[in-house]
Symmetry: C2
Subunit: 342 residues, 2 copies
DNA sequence: CTATAGTTATGAACCGTTTCCAAATGGACA
DNA sequence: TGTCCATTTGGAAACGGTTCATAACTATAG
């Protein structure tokens, strides 16, 4: 089996290389039967155009770069997986890179991707306040952690949080606390804002309604600590429901409740955020706000490829979240006072 | 800033393009001072060779493909992250692909990577029994889930399991059960074998020592169910220690113990396998066998790149695991009989 | 001093496509 | 019949590097 090039195809089909090239690229100006003949030969020879030769001339690499802070964060892992699938749908491949949440490494990765001449870059910027310099002429879009000076696409964090807290309120909860994310994180702040939105508009009943939140990192252990803190108060002041800003926090919070002997969901409702796979595997299965990751990834990819308008800078595309009601939430028990009155 | 090519560098340095090329590729036959001068010009101009032009002629892409079944499995996520880092150390980039544990998709991904002319492929094959056809001439190495007909690199699963069970035995445990992985999975079987190795060589004391294991998928919920099963027996027959074949199983098992009111580690020791990040974040922090993921990834990459001998087919390179003693394990309480005799 | 070998540098050919311009063909129309 | 477009095809130039045969120069040996 000798190596086959476009020339072999052309010769065997009795046409010029240019014609074969046009067939390859679905160029309209080629006769139907010629096109068919060439395609037949291509199939027969099992010919595959060399992507390097192709990219060199055409300046299109069919490659998308994706840079994320840390793949061991299940949320980002899911994002990468969705992005790869979306890219594949547009017959692109994905070059993956990790920034380890380090602005210097991040800049380096970006430069590498530019050197690779990728067709676009998806980036979840690292947390340190910094500006990323997009290699100019190269479409770049931020995901999840939005930056003010770059186009972005993300979940509607504020709206999602509202849905969660609204749901808890409708269930009858009034003492709803919030484990907020780390200060300075854009998604964290949006989610907290959503929580506050609902809490401040809840009709004041007999019991005073006041927001109660505590900042914590997004991880499991921070969630546990925050949960322990919130639950360490007298029975009649203790929250009956907790909205956590990440599933990992929520899972940690579940553990904290468990340690205190508080039954879930009878004694405490917990709602998470993100919808990572783990949230549906634990016991009790976690009620959570699931981000439409597939949609987000698809939007990012098609924006980069120009098959969809790029979101305006400063006006990111937001995607609606959905509430997944599972086992960690329920209506609150009767108030202790009510019980006593019986 | 006009686009700069190798010609501009050559001209500015007063040498021929061929010379610049040789400097670029660290070819020995170029004088030290010429080399220095050229390098200076390269730096000055910020020149970056076009990877496509380069690859087209040289047939080297500096690209590594990696195909894994599912990125939402934290173990694979860590693998991918390590592989990317290792590849970067050899100035290669990584094209990531997910097979969704589907043999058909897997074959397609492999073909795509071959088309991309990557320099090598790392693959964690999907579980269904099938043979993967490596595009010939393209180095391919399996990781973790080894295949009989391809070179592979993995953790020493059997040895790692031995370390875990040995540790539990030395702690004084005798009724040590095992949550084995799914039947048919190579790593699962090796770990089970390691467990059996130790159990069958333990000196028989007063109490009869007999292996006890149950198969379960590697995930959290399966581990919980398996744990519940193993712990649902009379107090004096119940295992005092459980070795799980994955951290996810172990974490599920922790939950099962918790549901039964069994304190950890006082009433039950649990040891996991893998060393995923989550294992160190939960409460209690999980004692586990950690796989040297960075080493494994590095070995895979450098084998692919020919900087290290490719493992022989049928004789995979195995890497020593390490025991991370944390909070989920301790010596067993006195036997109930002993307590009664007091 | 010449022959021989060894080291560096040169520059043209080449890699496998895409792209562009020119040429061929065919039909409509005057 | 001759002109003028529109459509389709051919063929060569480009893309930006690497590689290789060759030349130029040095050093060593005879």
């Amino acid at each position: 089996m000798t190596k086959r090039g476009i020339k072999d195809v052309a010769q065997r089909a009795g046409v010029a290389v240019g014609t074969v090239s046009r067939v390859l690229n679905e160029h309209p100006s080629v006769n139907a039967d010629v096109r068919a003949r060439v395609k037949a030969v291509i199939a027969e020879l099992g010919y595959r155009p060399d992507p390097f030769a192709r990219s060199m001339r055409s300046k299109v690499s069919r490659l998308i770069g994706i840079v994320i802070p840390d793949l061991t964060n299940p949320f980002f892992a899911e994002l990468v997986q969705c992005a790869e699938r979306a890219a594949a749908d547009h017959s692109h491949n994905v070059i993956f890179m990790s920034s380890f949440d380090d602005a210097v490494k991040e800049a380096d990765r970006l430069a590498q991707l530019a050197g690779r001449k990728v067709d676009g870059i998806i980036i979840v910027p690292c947390n340190s306040p910094h500006s990323i310099k997009a290699p100019k002429g190269l479409p770049l879009i931020t995901v999840d952690r939005l930056l003010a000076d770059h186009p972005g696409v993300a979940a509607d964090n504020r709206g999602g949080a509202r849905i969660a807290v609204d749901y808890l309120a409708k269930l009858g909860h009034r003492r709803i606390a919030c484990i907020a994310g780390p200060a300075g994180s854009r998604p964290a702040e949006d989610r907290l804002q959503g929580y506050l939105d609902v809490m401040t508009t809840l009709p004041q009943g007999r019991a005073k309604i006041e927001p109660l939140f505590v900042n914590a990192a997004f991880d499991y252990e921070s969630g546990r600590a925050a949960g322990a803190f919130l639950l360490a108060r007298p029975r009649d002041e203790r929250p009956t429901a907790i909205f956590a800003s990440s599933d990992q926090q929520a899972i940690g919070c579940l553990r904290a409740a468990n340690d205190l002997g508080i039954p879930i969901p009878a004694g405490l409702s917990v709602v998470g955020f993100d919808g990572i796979p783990l949230s549906n595997l634990i016991t009790p299965r976690l009620t959570t706000i699931v981000q439409p990751m597939a949609q987000i990834a698809e939007a990012a990819i098609s924006s980069l490829l120009g098959r969809r308008d790029m979101p305006e800078v400063g006006k990111p595309d937001l995607f609606q979240c959905e509430l997944a009601i599972r086992e960690s939430s329920a209506a609150p028990l009767l108030e202790p006072t009510a019980v006593a009155a019986r």
